[in-house]
Symmetry: none
Subunit: 404 residues, 2 copies
């Protein structure tokens, strides 16, 4: 018998008026900028975060499993309490979340690549020379205008050679194989139905690939498309249902807005700045039980390999902590979705600093918010990210006692 | 595929003459009495426990799962090595354990509430005005005298409006629905069989509810009964079978005696004091492999919200440690079943201090027995409570090497 993925809290939820804030500094975890040096977070001057750490419980979480470097989707699902190995999201649906496309039940979303084809229709470049995003937009407008028999089509730019295609209609299913031959010199594959239910989808996608070739014929190097990861909107239990929390997401980037939307969170209007995000939380504080607040630059500067800029990004967030504390939340969690050490210029598998502040936290020895300090914290040096939400519920008084 | 609940030790047991003592200070874990202050355990003068901590391995355990506040049943099952989410005990069976009723296989136990009914038989108060325990005793004597067709009946007082009813006879099963309508203004529901096997049980319980109304007719406000949580004695593998330990329980309170009995431990005669409990262990030390020794006041004083009294209760136990060490046990574990911070006046989800003493413990940095100190211990700041028993077996030399 498979265990209920939310067995920890299932049946114990008890509503109250408490407020929980989850502040995610994307890619928060880091590495020292030089041997024996400090990490970006340790080097940052973060008096406000340090004060929270001193009063709260600290530790480092594992977003997925030991050694696993998470993408943005799984990284966020973990801190939202959804085990990323149980709640795997198909590439197409994640792409839809990433562009902010409002995927409906029954829609089939696929990730597309523009590719280059020779006269015989064989792939000569699987990424069409990595065309620029501007060209991509121009081509996606053309593709979006294609008419399909018995299905609606939506095509949207992702970036460079990548786009999102969504088909909408009766009787579509997502069990369809990829068309990417994974090597040059071969023709794109036909999409194949893996189940009888998906036969119509396979033929609609084949039609799309064919009409795309016709439409793009005069546009080398991007004169063909490869389709991957057909996926429906996942039928996951909503955050409201699973944790009993009416949740809002304050986030500027489409990917994070999209993941929040997949869980049924209310996504607040697109903010222009992090300051505006914090303002949104303030203004709507009475309306929701839970706020997911997302900050992107700590990840972006890590990916740039810019230690100083990542440090400064973290310092910037520190300046907004008093504004959040003034709201008097019952629980305030500050963490990341994964590590992005500037030394690696990429996401990494390293555990992610986490602090949970609430009035009933048991004191631990942590006095500053940093990777080394958190290793001595009460949450432990490698706790599962999915522990954060049940803990937040407990500290918010939202879980009844288990049995007598 | 479900994992074997005792896969860690299954097949590796190896008997010897070692002795293990598990001392449970109920509700041991706490919180500071004032901001930045010490917890009850940290504030207590516990030279003997500190000496054990210094020589042993320390940590903090999670009784059930992160964020979950355990009741007394699950809290004890965890430290006994039985995962409380796998070994869920029905309310009726737990009530039987709690009153010390010796539930037999095939018996069906239910939790009863005295309730108030109006002339039309509708519930006007689901708790009969929370009648006092003395009244409850008088009424339970009446109910206990009811004769049922083809089944024996036992009725025992729990407390206030709550009682235990047990039916015994051929062909009884526990898949019967509750009769509590969960709201006033409605008649009690009929008990309904959820499986064909439970049909006789449903009719016997319906008969009991009806005769109880007749018997109580002249006794407002408690003139009816509501029945919940019908449950057989759980058919769990015994402690002896699972861990190869002939176990004795020294405990004063019915609930803890009952849980030990559910696992097949021999429950020693009712002691008058904790001192007598320790004497029992001394006197019977040669007879058993394992002793569960229970101390209640640390929990009771925590529930009272009395920091000083909880601290003193812990100090009292400290005074008995030398007596236990004189017995020369091979393994001595001191922990709690859950936290009961006096600040919260209730059980809580906070991890529970634990120390395991044995001659082969690897030294860890812990020099005193307290929440913060234990965070740096070799057992870690958040280990599953169910790890304790396999560790005890290992330190007692009772587990063979796994494979070659």
């Amino acid at each position: 018998m498979q265990k209920h993925p939310f067995e920890q809290t299932a049946g114990l939820l008890s509503a109250n008026n408490s407020k929980i804030i989850l502040l995610v500094l994307d890619g928060l975890g880091g590495l020292p900028g030089r041997p024996h040096g400090l990490t970006e977070l340790e080097a940052a001057e973060t008096h406000n975060l340090d004060a929270l750490a001193k009063e709260g419980s600290c530790g480092l979480h594992l977003p997925v499993r030991p050694g696993i470097t998470p993408g943005s989707g799984p990284g966020h699902l973990g801190v939202f309490g959804y085990d990323p190995l149980t709640f795997e999201v198909g590439r197409g649906a994640l792409a839809a979340a990433g562009t902010g496309f409002d995927l409906q039940p029954g829609d089939v979303a696929v990730r597309g690549n523009f590719c280059s084809l020779d006269e015989a229709g064989r792939v000569t470049d699987r990424r069409a020379g990595r065309i620029d995003t501007g060209t991509n937009r121009r081509l996606c407008e053309k593709l979006d205008a294609i008419e399909l028999d018995g299905a609606e089509l939506f095509v949207q730019t992702i970036k460079e050679h990548r786009f999102l295609a969504v088909i909408r209609g009766e009787g579509l299913a997502d069990d369809v194989s990829d068309t990417d031959p994974q090597q040059t010199g071969r023709k794109p594959l036909d999409p194949e139905a893996q189940t009888p239910q998906a036969e119509r989808t396979a033929s609609v996608l084949a039609q799309f690939a064919e009409r795309a070739r016709e439409t793009l014929a005069g546009d080398p190097p991007a004169n063909g498309v490869l389709l991957r990861g057909a996926a429906n909107k996942p039928g996951w239990p909503s955050f409201q249902k699973v944790f009993g929390l009416h949740a809002a997401a304050a986030a500027a980037y489409p990917m994070y807005r999209g993941v929040a939307r997949l869980l049924g969170m209310e996504v607040l209007p697109q903010p222009e700045s992090f300051e505006e995000e914090i303002e949104q939380v303030k203004e709507r504080f009475d309306e929701f039980d839970f706020f997911f607040v997302h900050f992107k630059p700590s990840d972006s500067r890590g990916e740039d390999g810019n230690f100083e800029a990542k440090k400064e990004a973290i310092q910037k967030v520190d300046g907004f902590i008093p504004a959040l504390r003034e709201l008097n939340p019952d629980v305030l969690i500050v963490t990341g979705d994964h590590s992005t050490p500037s030394q690696l210029k990429a996401h990494s598998w390293h555990p992610v600093p986490a602090l949970l502040w609430a009035p009933t936290c048991r004191p631990d020895p942590v006095e500053t918010f940093g990777e080394r300090a958190c290793m001595a914290g009460g949450l432990g040096p490698r706790f599962p990210a999915t522990d954060l939400l049940p803990l937040a519920l407990a500290y918010a008084g939202r879980l009844k006692k288990f049995s007598a």
